[in-house]
């Protein structure tokens, strides 16, 4: 996937700077919401196993830059293991956790785009992003 195609996919799924969490736990929690929503959107289309497999491969790639991310055991990853990701992100400084999660999302987006095409990937990830932003805003109001 070239840079221009990637740019078409990612803006919708990247987290705007204003949403970067102030502390690690908050950052990890927001990342969880986004990943949960991504799974909810994609699982009815490519199955929980399909989402897990893309996530697992993305995680393995992101671990090269962020070795503290949880290890992936075997292929395929049966589903997104949110608990271990949350635990790993929460242990890091917020900036490091955000950078790792951004890379994880970017790799996930690239992989999805390479499988289903960038247009469809963009639409699906936009849906997921909008939903998670909605959840975060709702969470902010309640909090």
């Amino acid at each position: 996937m070239n840079d221009s195609t990637l740019a078409a996919v990612l803006p919708g799924h990247s987290r705007p700077a204003g949403l970067v969490a102030a502390d690690s736990h908050q950052s990890a929690r927001r990342a969880m919401l986004a990943w949960r929503r991504t799974e909810e959107i994609l699982a009815p289309i490519i199955g929980v196993g399909g989402v897990g497999a893309i996530y697992g491969r993305s995680l393995a790639c992101a671990r090269r830059a962020f070795p503290w991310l949880p290890a992936v055991h075997g292929f395929p990853c049966s589903r997104i293991e949110l608990a271990s990701l949350h635990e790993a992100l929460a242990r890091q400084p917020a900036s490091e956790a955000s950078a790792a999660d951004a890379m994880l999302q970017q790799t996930f987006g690239e992989l999805l785009a390479s499988l289903v095409g960038s247009r469809l990937a963009n639409r699906l990830l936009e849906l997921s992003f909008e939903a998670s932003v909605g959840n975060q805003r709702q969470e902010g109001k309640l909090g």
Partner: protein, 264 residues
């Protein structure tokens, strides 16, 4: 028509109408049930269809990613194999094949630019004794140390590679002349004999040197000449270097420890 007759006709009509209403109700209920059945059937069909579609997509995604995993793993193996064929596992220096390639490149460059270079053939002195006295692990360790010390004695543009056993090749890709090569050879002998952990390493080597393009202009010929010169150094007792031109020196750059052999 009498009033009595009119009454009975009216009653019969009402009865018939009642029956028809009842029948219509029954049909309406039957129709509603039928519609519900159709909706259920459609829903079930859609759900089954969607489930099958999702299952198919899931299989496709898994197959595509599995293919990538296999491809990655094959590439990694290929990379490892390629590295194994180019670098010696023990000393992590270029293998004989890669050294030949580098010497060929240096020769081509020397022809283009009109510069000179040197090939050294180096044999570790007393290596068999190290193996016999201390075992193969000590021998391996000695080879690793020799490789590290030789590599540290040359420039990045030069190359040190294990030729086989306790033999090494050194390529000096660009040199001004014999004095510069002699200086590097002396530096190598000094580095091998240096101190390690407060005590002398006990390492030394016999070195043979051929210059290009002066002595030969192809890799096998240069190596053969340097190899022959190495034996001359060895016969003098080692810890020295010999040029194909005949110049002989020890680690200090002076005369070797043993008296020189008669001239060829």
């Amino acid at each position: 028509m009498s009033l009595l007759h009119e009454d009975s006709v009216f009653t019969a009509a009402r009865h018939a109408l009642g029956l028809l209403h009842h029948e219509a109700d029954g049909l309406r209920k039957e129709l509603a049930a039928l519609r519900r059945d159709i909706v259920d059937a459609q829903r079930e069909f859609d759900s089954t269809h969607a489930a099958r579609l999702m299952e198919a997509n899931e299989h496709l995604v898994l197959a595509a990613l599995r293919a990538r995993e296999i491809s990655d793993s094959a590439l990694a193996e290929l990379d490892a194999l390629s590295r194994a064929s180019q670098f010696d596992e023990l000393t992590e220096t270029p293998t004989r094949t890669l050294m030949l390639d580098r010497i060929d490149n240096a020769l081509a460059q020397a022809r283009r630019r009109g510069n000179r270079g040197a090939v050294m053939f180096l044999d570790v002195d007393g290596f068999k004794a190290i193996n016999d006295a201390h075992g193969h692990a000590a021998g391996d360790d000695a080879l690793r140390r020799v490789a590290a010390r030789l590599t540290a004695s040359v420039r990045e543009s030069d190359a040190v590679g294990r030729f086989g056993g306790d033999e090494f090749l050194v390529l000096l890709a660009e040199v001004a002349g014999e004095p510069e090569v002699a200086m590097v050879a002396g530096k190598m002998l000094a580095a091998l004999a240096g101190v390690e952990g407060g005590a002398p390493t006990g390492l030394s080597a016999s070195i043979g040197i051929a210059l290009f393009p002066d002595d030969a202009d192809d890799a096998p010929a240069l190596i053969a000449l340097a190899d022959a010169c190495m034996y001359r150094s060895k016969r003098r007792g080692g810890a020295s270097f010999t040029f194909h031109s005949g110049r002989v020196a020890g680690a200090s750059g002076g005369a070797p420890r043993e008296p020189p052999l008669p001239a060829r």
